[in-house]
């Protein structure tokens, strides 16, 4: 286990549990009472100083509604605002709205179909124009415009009869009740109607290269291939900004990125973070704050359940028992990540901590297979009804830690009479049709299952989400369980947090029992920043560390 006492985060499992308890309580007590989140301690009176944030991928998509990757989110969160924002405790906070709509405050009807949104009246676009309900209507309609190259349309495609009631109020009707939509809105940034409506083709608008938002920072310039510079929006309606300039620097090589963090050229390491193998050294660096924070992704072995060898639950249980997770986590991943039994992020309000813990037990694994009738053949590999217990395992080639994990698993699986061959592919091939259309036999993948903290996982686990069977979604393991389907449908229709919690705790229980995939560990991200940079807060519900740069400031 990596020595953690040197970190300045004082992170421990107990602290994390405490944090979760506080987060849960805050969620119950204070969703809409907190007002502005108190991120900054003693911020300066006017924006001063500059922060350089390092990325290993280059942000290139500045229209937040177009297809983009995580690193682009950093620009979007700083330049734009969404109607609501998911804070670090998993609680939705008002951003452009006066209050988060709910069934209690009448913003959402009892049946979940009618929505009423009330907007702040003091928000202006960076060019000085007022932000109004027309902008919201325009944004939501643009996403579903068939000519517009929109990112994901889930949830938005259910919106009907959008009506602007007044400049600060609008209503719509949902085709069906869909509770996760509120969270989806936390990742839906508003774009200005007065600029984009004039464009003949919004896909090629000048706006896409020099965005105008309502956010804490204004677009300044982009040096392609190098960095993006934002400047403080002095008229920002929300909290902050306290920095005069915010720079997103692109450093493609992870080692060079870390070297520049060490040398002080960059102040904060964002998405991609500090690699696990550098964690030990990084935490001992002087004048640097290095924190280990739970992330949203879970690394698992995905099994293609339509393959005959994986249809038998005993095989899945035996394979799970034959995984020495402790050795993998500590020997290969420097003890940075955490064991988990579920797909749900561990600091989520909906995380089920009471699932049975996996135990590495080769004897038990053998016994399970013996009892299920899998008999060793002439070559030592087990066979049942003509099916050999043999399969290929795929992941992205070039990821040396995953490759070492595969080699380790290959050996232990062989001890229980299971043959696993390794067949890796480049990332661009692996995550294309091969993954989405379930062409793999088994795969190792780090998957984020939830969007902006919402627990709905229909897209990954509902029978209707199996693309290989004509469904819509990304249930690539082809998992199908009618009870889970029913629970997921109920969860998506339920708006009450407590009721939803009970539903998703049960879903996790069933999935843990069925083992459609074998969880290896929950990712932890290694955040690194210069000492003196305050107001920073990790948020596993956002994909980037720069989700709230508005609250950052340098200590005097």
């Amino acid at each position: 286990m990596t020595e953690r006492s040197n970190t300045k985060s004082n992170y421990s499992r107990r602290d994390a549990l405490r944090l979760m308890a506080i987060g849960g309580a805050a969620g119950l007590i204070a969703p809409n009472l907190l007002g502005k989140p108190a991120f900054a301690q003693n911020p300066p009176a006017s924006p001063t100083g500059r922060v350089v944030v390092g990325f290993s991928q280059e942000p290139t998509v500045f229209n937040p509604l177009m297809p983009h990757t995580e690193c682009d989110d950093a620009v979007h969160f700083s330049v734009f605002d969404a109607l609501v924002r998911m804070d670090s405790k998993g609680v939705l906070q008002p951003n452009l709205v006066v209050e988060v709509p709910s069934q209690k405050n009448g913003g959402i009807s009892e049946d979940g179909l009618l929505w009423r949104i009330r907007l702040r009246d003091d928000v202006r676009w960076h060019d000085g124009q007022p932000f109004t309900a027309e902008d919201v209507k325009f944004t939501l309609e643009l996403i579903t415009n068939p000519k517009f190259r929109a990112w994901r349309t889930a949830g938005h495609s259910l919106v009907r009869d959008l009506k602007v009631v007044s400049p600060t109020e609008l209503t719509w009707r949902m085709e069906e009740a869909f509770a996760p939509y509120l969270s989806f809105l936390a990742e839906t940034f508003m774009v200005p109607k007065h600029i984009l409506e004039k464009e003949a083709d919004p896909n090629a608008a000048a706006f896409n290269q020099a965005p105008v938002g309502t956010g804490a920072f204004k677009w300044a310039q982009r040096i392609a291939g190098d960095h993006i510079e934002l400047v403080a929006n002095a008229d920002y309606a929300g909290e902050g900004p306290y920095l005069e300039r915010l720079v997103f620097k692109y450093i493609p090589d992870m080692t060079v990125l870390y070297t520049q963090f060490k040398s002080g050229d960059i102040d904060l390491v964002d998405q991609a973070f500090i690699t696990a193998d550098h964690y030990g050294e990084a935490s001992k660096l002087p004048d640097r704050v290095v924190m280990l924070e739970r992330g949203a992704s879970v690394e698992s072995i995905y099994l293609n359940l339509e393959k005959p060898q994986f249809k038998d639950p005993a095989v899945r249980q035996a394979l799970y028992a034959a995984i020495d997770r402790k050795a993998i986590l500590e020997g290969l991943y420097y003890g940075v990540h955490n064991p988990t039994e579920t797909f749900m992020p561990q600091n989520s309000y909906y995380y089920n901590p009471n699932l049975p813990a996996q135990e590495f037990n080769i004897e038990r694994a053998r016994q399970l297979l013996d009892e299920a009738g899998w008999v060793p053949g002439a070559d030592g590999i087990r066979v049942k009804d003509g099916v050999r217990l043999s399969f290929a395992n795929s992941t992205t080639s070039g990821n040396h830690l995953r490759e070492q994990t595969q080699q380790f698993l290959q050996q232990t699986f062989a001890e229980i009479g299971v043959e696993m061959t390794i067949s890796n592919l480049p990332a661009a091939v692996m995550w294309g049709d091969f993954w989405l259309k379930s062409q793999f036999e088994s795969a190792i993948s780090g998957v984020t299952n939830v969007i902006a903290g919402d627990p709905d996982v229909s897209n990954r686990l509902h029978t209707k989400a199996i693309v290989a069977k004509g469904g819509k979604g990304s249930n690539t393991g082809q998992y199908s369980n009618p009870e889970v389907d029913a629970l997921l449908e109920k969860g998506a229709r339920t708006f009450d947090r407590e009721e939803r919690r009970a539903i998703y705790l049960r879903v996790q229980e069933i999935v843990r029992q069925d083992l459609p995939f074998l969880p290896l560990f929950a990712y932890a991200n290694v955040f690194g920043r210069k000492e003196g940079l305050e107001g920073f807060e990790a948020n596993s519900n956002a994909r980037v560390a720069s989700w709230h740069a508005a609250g950052w400031h340098w200590k005097d």
């Binding site: 500059r50 350089v52 290139t60 998509v61 500045f62 229209n63 177009m66 297809p67 990757t69 068939p146 000519k147 190259r149 990112w151 994901r152 349309t153 889930a154 989806f184 090629a204 896409n208 290269q209 040096i223 392609a224 291939g225 190098d226 960095h227 720079v247 692109y250 450093i251 493609p252 090589d253 060079v256 070297t259 520049q260 040398s263 050229d265 480049p426 990332a427 661009a428 091939v429 692996m430 995550w431 294309g432 049709d433 091969f434 993954w435 989405l436 259309k437 993948s445 780090g446 998957v447 984020t448 299952n449 939830v450 969007i451 897209n459 990954r460 693309v467 819509k472 979604g473 990304s474």
Partner: protein, 316 residues
Amino acid sequence: MRGFLLNRLSQSLILLLIVSVIGFVVLNLLPGGPLAQFGLDPGMTQDDLDRLKEQLGLNRPLWMQYLDWAWRLLQGDWGHSFRDGAPVLAVIGRHVFATLLLMGTSTAIAIAIGTWIGIRGATHRYSLFDHVATVGAMVALSIPTFWFGLVGIYIFSLRLGWLPAGNMYTIGDGSVLNYLHHLILPSIVLSLVHVAIWSRYMRTATLDAISQDFVKTARAKGLSERRVIMKHVVGNALLPMITLAGVQLPSILTGALVTETVFTWPGMGRLFLDSLGYSDYPVVMGLLMFSAILVILGNLIADIAVAIVDPRIRLG
């Protein structure tokens, strides 16, 4: 001359056509494609990906995509980047300055030092200087540039702290001095290989010229050795170097893949790598055509220059 030019131009067009077809087919044969990067996004469905594919025109047959691309290219439309939606020429244009600065500087260093080493090596054949230059050139040619780059960063940036470890300039300081400071290490590292090439070529060319009759005549006339070398040898030895310069010209604009990556230099070489990584076909094709045109132009200019400089060469 006109006949020669027309002939070369028609050959060049056929070459460009072949390059574009091969490039387009090979690029599009790779499985996965530009949308694979969204495959793991939570909430991204196959429906969304199919819709995007259709909007980008990626679901059409390959020949149709090629004809469409080629037709637009002929009209001056190089297409738009899949990554940021910007016109391909604008994307390339954004990276040209960085590459021009780095490659221009290192080429200038390489020509100046390489030429000098080559001439001195030839005029002082088998001297200690010549031996050291020969061995040095062999070392520079056989060791990969990234190794030199990493060693340079380790010694001059991390150990001594004299030079920046990367980047074209310090953010917030756009002064000329700052650019120059950042330019030193990568341009020297990059010029090492080119110095070796130039010095070898120059040495051979100088030796060739020295053995010519007119040199012997010049010496016989009683000219000083320095005058013989400067006036009669170097002038003639530079002729074949024009061809070499022509061949090297495209690389000044297309960049150095490895050096730009090691030194986080935002140039064309890295743009090419990044665009390949994201399967940004329009940009990759744009870069391919851009460098093909440069190679053809470079050779053409070299041929014409040689013809002008040396009237003995008659072009048919």
